[in-house]
């Protein structure tokens, strides 16, 4: 009972700071002033918005998976280091997060630009004659977003990996498992939940991104948040709210699906043993 009581302030805080504003967003999107689905039909019937919506999903999924593929091995590498060395390596991972996203995005212009570092190096080395168009492409958006999101995935993976009892791995080895098999059968399943959580966090955050696509993307790299911000400043709050609801609903749906699928997977794995 007392345990529940101590939860009360937290619940009240969430209620006031989260549920009420979200409720107002729903009210804005659905009432104008009478109940209407006009904003949602506008979203569904205009080609541009659906295209932007699919683009947002696709970019977020690619960024999340890329972060997983790059970040998981890095987290694994750090966990395998002597305990005394880990804080310094984690510090290096976290340093970029202290810099503003805006400044880092502008920095990519210097790196990827036509007269940027990469192009100038390639030209100086005689590998290419004319500069490659790297800036203002979808690829640039992926690079910029992965760079920003990577620390989040590494931290999530790392913290779940540190909780794994290393003696389990030793036990597997003693029982005759090869290092690869010990990793696959013991470490991977135990760290899977953290990796999935990290990937989902990156996915959710990516769904709301707009600085990177706006600054270093091409003309087709518009995301939902760019449109929402534009609609808010044009004072079309109802439509902006409807777009936000669509974004929220899609994110929650995907979250539930992936969570369900991964729970089954982990459960299945446990049963197999």
């Amino acid at each position: 009972m007392s345990k529940r009581l101590t939860l009360l302030p937290g619940i009240a805080l969430i209620l006031i700071l989260f549920l009420i504003p979200v409720g107002i967003v729903f009210q804005q999107g659905l009432f104008d002033p009478a109940f209407t689905i006009e904003h949602f039909t506008r979203f569904a019937t205009r080609g541009a918005y659906m295209r932007i919506f699919w683009n947002t999903l696709q970019v977020s999924a690619v960024v999340a998976l890329a972060c997983l593929l790059i970040g998981y091995p890095i987290a694994y590498f750090i966990v395998r280091q002597p305990t005394a060395r880990r804080p310094f390596l984690m510090f290096l991972v976290l340093v970029p997060m202290w810099m503003s996203i805006l400044a880092r995005t502008y920095a990519w212009m210097v790196v990827l630009g036509k007269e940027g570092i990469i192009n100038q190096t390639l030209i100086a080395l005689g590998i290419i004659d004319t500069p490659i168009q790297m800036l203002f492409t979808t690829g640039a958006v992926y690079v910029g977003m992965v760079q920003i999101m990577l620390p989040i995935l590494i931290v999530t993976c790392f913290s779940s990996m540190t909780e794994i009892d290393q003696s389990l791995l030793r036990a597997a080895r003693i029982m005759g498992a090869s290092p690869r098999k010990a990793f696959r059968e013991v470490f991977l399943p135990l760290s899977a939940e953290g990796a999935i959580t990290g990937t989902l966090i990156v996915f959710i955050l990516s769904m709301g991104f707009f600085i990177v696509p706006a600054l270093i993307g091409g003309r087709k790299d518009t995301m939902m948040a760019n449109v929402i911000s534009g609609q808010v400043s044009q004072t079309n709050w109802g439509f902006a709210a409807a777009l936000a609801i669509v974004l929220l609903a899609a994110t929650l749906l995907i979250l539930t699906l992936v969570r369900g699928a991964s729970a089954k997977l982990v459960h299945h794995h446990e049963e197999a043993h």
């Binding site: 630009g113 003309r219 087709k220 518009t222 808010v232 044009q234 079309n236």
Partner: protein, 350 residues
Amino acid sequence: MKLTKTLTAFTLGATMAASAAFAEGTLTYAGSGGGLAQVMKGVFDDPFTAETGIAVNALATSDRASALKAMQVAGKVTWDVTELNPIEYATASLSGWLAPLDWSVMDPNNALPDDAKLADAGIAATFSTVMAVRTDKLPEGKQMTSWADFWNVEGFPGGRALQNQPIDNLEFALIADGVAPADVYTVLATEEGQDRAFAKLDEIKPHIAVWWTAGAQPVQMLSDGEVAYTSAWNGRIAKLAAEGVPVTINWNGGGIKASYVAIVKGSENVEAGQKYISFMMTSPERAAQFASMVPYPGMVKGLYDHIPAEKGTMMPTHPNNVGDQFVTNALFWGKNLGPLKERWEDWILE
């Protein structure tokens, strides 16, 4: 001597500001913050406080139309005087969120032209979306002098950029297609005129490397050599040129825009607000002092008599430049932005 004067003004201003908060009240001004607010403090706010005893509380704001809507919906007005860009002004004015101004009190000596005195706002500053050209990237012996040249990708090879929005670009396209700047909005008001503008934009679309979204981008891209020709805001290009980048402004076909100041409907400081707007707008000396620090000049008569020629010619309302440009029609865009923006989003994603 001048320094002493400034210092006295500052000290006086500061002292007055401290006491004025009690004596005469405070005026809340919703501005853009940053460097602009610093300049305004020195040129307008502190001398105003020294003269009237009214303190000015300058806020750094953005998305002002949205903020004004929120204030009117909530019935709690927290700004007295606000700065507005053309679209914000059109939205606020058409929605009735601005208080009427009494220009007979604010400008009794007619220091301002009638164009600067609107029923619910004053034009405090002007800027222009112009064509910026990297002169070292031009073909030998050629000058880019018009939007038709900008569209001529064979005669003028090189990377190009435009802003990712319908405002300005539809006008530029029509001008490139031979419409006289004065007729642009008559043409654009018709369905055929809009089709014509988009058809002209179709021609240039494959050659636009970047559709920029933030005012700092064209500046960055010009200085990095990412593009050779782009639309940009005049003040930023003047600054870039002053930093030694070989870049020049082509005023021909530029879109002059106003920065408006208005009193928010429901403000309790209407009288003080009017005094402040009048103080800001009606003195040519002060306006010149402001414009020589920020190249966004006001409309007061005789302004250029107080500005050296080499600075003046970098400004949009200078007699040399003003005739070549068109004035962006805020009310047209206030009414038509919604559908044209949707069409633009469709078009840009194609």
